[in-house]
C-alpha cells in the first residue's frame, strides 16, 4: 500500500513541478507567438483567423512570419535542452521522494544535487541507449524499406517500412524504465552509477513483468492524460466560445498535472520496490 496522501512533500512537489513546467511553457509560448499574435490581434477574428477561410488566412500568417520561424525554433530547442540538463541534475529527486516516506522536497533536491555525478553518469548511459535505439530503429527501417520493395502487398510494404520505428520505440521505452529503476537504486541505496546500472538491469531481468509492466502501465496512464487533453482540444479546435476555451485550457493544464502525478507515483512504486529489496538484502 502506497501512503501517497500522507507523504508530506509529494503533493507539493507534483504541484510545484507542474506549475514550473507550465509557467515556463507559457513564457516560451508568449515569446514564440509574439510576432503571430501581433498580426492576429489586428484581425477581427483574432486567433480564430487560423481556422477561417479554409486555411487561406493560416497560409498568410505562415508566409508573413516566414522570418520568425527559425529564431523560434532555436529558442524552443535551447529551452528544452536547458530543461533536460536541469532534470539530469534533479533526476534523483523523485526517486528520493518515492523511496523515503515523509522527506521534504528541498531535502530531496539537495540529495539529488549531491549525487549529481552519479545521475549524470546514468543519464549519459541512457542517452547512449536512446542514440542506439534511434540508430537501430533507423537501420531496421532502412532494412525493412529495402526488403519491402521486393514484396508487392502494400500493407506488408508499409509495415516493413515502419519496423524500425516500432522496434526503436519499444527499445526507448525499455531504456526509460531501466534509467528510472537505476536512479531509484542510486538514490535509495547509495550506489554508484555502474552499480545501480547493474542492479536495475538485474531487477528488470528478475522481475521483468512487474518492473517493465509497471513502468509501461504508469507511462500509459501519463500518456492517457495527454491523449485526453489532445482529444478535447482537437474536438473544440477552432471553437471560440468562452466555455470551449476554458474547457480546453483546463484540460491541458490538468493533463500536465496528471502526467507529473503519474510519473511521481511510478517513482514511489519503484522506490518501495527498491527499499523492499534493500530490506531483504539486509
Amino acid at each position: 500500500m502506497i501512503r501517497w496522501i500522507s507523504t508530506g512533500g509529494r503533493i507539493g512537489v507534483v504541484l510545484g513541478v507542474a506549475a514550473i513546467e507550465l509557467g515556463l511553457a507559457w513564457l516560451l509560448g508568449l515569446a514564440s507567438t509574439a510576432s503571430i499574435t501581433e498580426t492576429l490581434s489586428e484581425h477581427p477574428l483574432g486567433f480564430a483567423a487560423l481556422h477561417a477561410q479554409g486555411g487561406r488566412l493560416l497560409g498568410d500568417v505562415i508566409a508573413l512570419n516566414a522570418q520568425a520561424w527559425a529564431p523560434i525554433g532555436v529558442l524552443l530547442a535551447v529551452a528544452v535542452l536547458a530543461w533536460a540538463v536541469v532534470w539530469m541534475l534533479l533526476g534523483g529527486m523523485f526517486p528520493v521522494l518515492g523511496s523515503t516516506a515523509g522527506v521534504r522536497w528541498h531535502r530531496a533536491a539537495a540529495e539529488s544535487l549531491r549525487r549529481a555525478p552519479t545521475l549524470l553518469g546514468l543519464a549519459s548511459i541512457a542517452g547512449a541507449g536512446y542514440a542506439l535505439a534511434a540508430f537501430a530503429g533507423y537501420a531496421a527501417t532502412g532494412w525493412g524499406a529495402r526488403t519491402a520493395l521486393t514484396r508487392f502487398d502494400v500493407r506488408v510494404v508499409t509495415l516493413l517500412g515502419l519496423v524500425g520505428w516500432i522496434l526503436g520505440g519499444a527499445l526507448a521505452g525499455l531504456i526509460t524504465v531501466w534509467h528510472d529503476t537505476a536512479r531509484a537504486h542510486a538514490m535509495a541505496r547509495g550506489k554508484t552509477a555502474m552499480q545501480s546500472s547493474g542492479a536495475a538491469a538485474l531487477q528488470m531481468a528478475r522481475e521483468p513483468l512487474s518492473t517493465v509492466a509497471a513502468g509501461v502501465g504508469y507511462g500509459l496512464v501519463a500518456w492517457s492524460y495527454l491523449g485526453a487533453a489532445w482529444a478535447i482540444s482537437g474536438l473544440l479546435d477552432g471553437k471560440t466560445s468562452t466555455a470551449a476555451l476554458v474547457t480546453v485550457m483546463a484540460a491541458q493544464h490538468l493533463a500536465v498535472l496528471g502526467r507529473v502525478h503519474a510519473r511521481m507515483k511510478w517513482f514511489v512504486w519503484l522506490g518501495q520496490r527498491v527499499s523492499l529489496a534493500k530490506a531483504r538484502a539486509e
Binding site: 479554409g54 498568410d60 508487392f152 502487398d153 502494400v154 495527454l226 480546453v248 491541458q252 507529473v260
Partner: protein, 611 residues
Amino acid sequence: MVAAGALLLLPSLADAQTPPRVADYTFTATLDPVRHTVRADGTIRWTNPSSVAVSELWLHQYLNGFSGPRTYFMRTRSASTWPAHPPHWGRLAIESLRTGDGADLLPTATPDPAVPEDDSQLRVALPRAVAPGATIELAVRFTATLPEMVARTGYQGSFHLVAQWFPKVAVLEPDGTWAHFPFHANSEFYSDFGRYDIRIRYPRGYTIGATGPRVEGPALVDGLMEQRHVQEGIHDFAFTAWNHFRRADRRIQRVEVHVLHPPGNERGAARTLDLLSGALPAFERRFGPYPYPVLTVVLPPPGASAAGGMEYPTLITTGSFWWGPRRARDVEYVTLHEFGHQYFYGMVASNEHRYPFLDEGFCEYATARVMEDLFGRGGPLLDLPMLGPRLDAWSWEALGSSGIAHPLALDLGADQFPTWGRYGEHVYSRAAIVLRTMERRLGTRLFTATLRAYVDRARFSHPTPETFYAVVREQLGPPWEAFARTAFGTPWRYNLAVTGASSAREPDGRWRGYAVVDREGPFDLPVNVVFTDVRGSRSVVRIPNDRVMTIVPYDGSAALRSVSVDPEVTLPLEERRLDNARMADGHHAPTLPLIGRVAYWIAFALGSVGP
C-alpha cells in the same frame, strides 16, 4: 454535395463533335519486360490538316529526352524535380521509316540542328509534297528502350509505364507551320487527333492497362499474350504492364472504369471508384460529355510513385496510401486533376508546350470546382478533425498563387519559366485562381456556362488563349475579355488591404470615422466594405475600388470595432487575405487561446525530457 442540380447542362450526343482524323497509328508492339523494351512496327497515316502543302514532316521522339545526361530535357530539369540521371537511360530508335511506295526516309531525316545534343525531334524530308487534305502513309519499325522510372515514364522492377514510346507526328497548324519543339523538362506534349489501333504483345502473367477499349484478346498467340486496343478521337497512347496488378472494375454511366492497383490496396481502388462515381457525372454536368467508353486508373506499386499523377487519353495514373484517412483527400485531388485532363488536354487539346496554363490551369480550376461539388464548401482537401485547421482546395490554389515573388505572364511557354517551381505557381495555381475569381464575380452558373461554351467550341481541336478570349467576349462582354487578357497575358500583383480604421464620438452622440482601403494592382472591380461596431451590428458600403486608395467614411451609433474589405472573397486572386480585415484603432482581438495551445505543446516537449 453536388451543387450543380440547377445547372441542368445535361450531356447529349448532339454536342459531341466528330473528332478529326489527322494522325492514325496502327502498331503491333511487343513488350519485353526483362529488357524493358518495346519493339513495334506498323503504319502512321497522316492527313495534312493545314491550308498549305508541306514537303517535310516533324516527328517527336520524346523518349529520347531520357537518352543521356546532355539531352535538352536533362539540361533543363530543375534539381528538385527529376533525378540527374535515371540508373538506366531510355531511347527511341527508329529502325525503318518508308513511304507507302517504299522510299526510305531515314537517310535524310535529321534532328533539329537548332538544338544540339538532342534528338527528341526528327525532321523527315518527304519525296513529294503533301497537299492540303491529302494523306500520306508511312511504314515504320522502331524499338523503345524504357528508362528506369523518370518523369512518369519507364519501369521499376517488373512494373512498366510505357509512355512516349513511339514516334509521334507534331501538329501542323492551320497556317502550315509545324508546332515542333524539343522535349523540355517543364513541358508536356502536343499532337493531333486520330485513330489508334494498337496490338500489344506481352509475356503471360502480366496484366495490361492501356488507352482505349480492348477490342480483342487477351489471347495466346505464338507463345505471347496479345490484346488489341482501338480508340478514335485521341492524340496519344500509353499502356502499363505489371505481373502483380490487381484489378477493380465498375460501370459508371456509360463508362467502364478499371482501376489497376497493387495487392493490398483494395481500399485505394474502392476509394477511386467511389470518387469517380460522383466525379464523372459532376464533370459531365459542368464541362460536357466524356465521350470515351473506358477509363483506366493506375495506382503505381510501392517504389514507383514517380509514375503517379499523369494523364494520357483514357488512362491516368494517381497514387494512394492504403491506410490514408478518407478525409485527407490528396488521392481524390490527384485523381480529379488527372481525370480533368481528359477535358483540358484530352478533348480540349491545347498546345501544352506553348500554353501550359490552358491545360494545367484550367484543369486545376476544374479539379477544385469538382472537389467543392463533391465534398462541400471550399472543396476540403485536408479535413482531419483533431489535427488542426482544415485546408480547402480553393485556398490551396490561392496560396500557391500568392506565393509568387516575381510575377510573370501566365500565357508564356513552358520553357519560358525559369524553374519548375515558378512554372507550377503560375500555370497551375495562378491560372486556376484567376478562373475562380471570374466564377466568384460572375456567379457559378454564368461562369460554368461560359466555360462550357469554351469547351464546346474547343472540343477535339487545338484552342489558343484567343479561343478562350473570344468565348469570354461573346458570353460576358468586352470588360471581362479585358480582364482575362490582363490576368492571363500580363504579369501582375494584386492586393486589397484595410490599412486604417478609426472612429470617435461626436457631440451629437454619433460615432464617426473612416476606413482606408489600399489597392495594389490592375483590377478595378467594385467590392464591399463592411463596418462592424462594438455591439456587433454591421453596415455595408460598396466602393468602386478604382483608385489605389479609397477612404470610406463611417457613421454609426456605436464605436467602430473592425472593418473588412471584400469579406465575401469575390477576389480570391488577391495576394493576401489577412490584411483584408482590421481592428479599429484602440481595439484588439483575442489571441490568448493561441498562446495557450502553443504553451501546452511546449509543456509537452518539456515534460518529455523533464520529470
